[in-house]
Amino acid sequence: MSNFLGLILIGVGLAFDVFGCLGLVRLPDVYNRLQAATKCVTLGTCSILLGTFLIVGFSAQGMKALLCIVFLILTAPVAAHAIARGAHRAGIKLCDESCVDRYKEDKEGEA
């Protein structure tokens, strides 16, 4: 039973990975690509690791898979936030269709 549940979780994670990378190719802007790819690929990889834990059970490999999930959930949003902040401060422009820029408004309000 847990074997089939793990297979289903691995399939869902593979679908999330492929669609996140498709967004990385197709979207027009740095910030759109970051927003599409980071969330989808983090959730997909965590789903693959949870499926690995359900298949191999409570052994050394399963515990390592859980530890890897904790590391990914802790580190991936921090890395994405650092990239977005660095790109905005380096002066990379938004795409033409975007209509609001809250970070620029906040910096103008402080200064």
Binding site: R33, I48, A87
Partner: protein, 128 residues
């Protein structure tokens, strides 16, 4: 104007043909000889390996053809997360536990390198 629209349509058609043919190749040709045959669901795991390779080839396309440096940094971060999932699938296929050690170390190293690259990007904006 019509010429650029024609070129955009042509690029869209070529990309769709390449993507659909890769998906059809993965579904119809699972290549199960890469792993040993006694494993249950060996065709599913080999297809999973090829799907992750397809996703990482999209990341390599974005690394090669990013307009700015931030695109390349995003693609490198995503590639590092994908490789962790690849190591998890290889752990199930070969039942060796040190592939997940590689995954944990790769996740931490990718986090540190992404922080360093984004700091470099920020400093480059300050200098100019």
């Amino acid at each position: 104007m019509s010429e650029s629209e024609d070129i955009k349509f042509l690029k869209w058609v070529v990309g769709t043909i390449v993507f659909v043919s890769l998906i059809i190749f993965i579904i119809t040709c699972p290549l199960p000889f890469l792993f040993y045959k006694k494993l249950p669901f060996v065709a599913f795991y080999s297809r999973a390996v090829f799907i992750i390779l397809l996703a990482s080839s999209m990341c390599l396309y974005r690394i090669a053809r990013g307009p700015t440096g931030a695109d390349r940094i995003v693609a490198i971060d995503i590639l590092g997360i994908l490789i962790v999932g690849f190591c998890a699938v290889l752990t199930i296929c070969t039942s060796r536990s040190w592939y997940l050690d590689i995954g944990i170390a790769w996740a931490l190293q990718s986090f540190i390198s992404t922080l360093a690259l984004s700091k470099y990007l920020e400093g480059k904006g300050f200098d100019e």
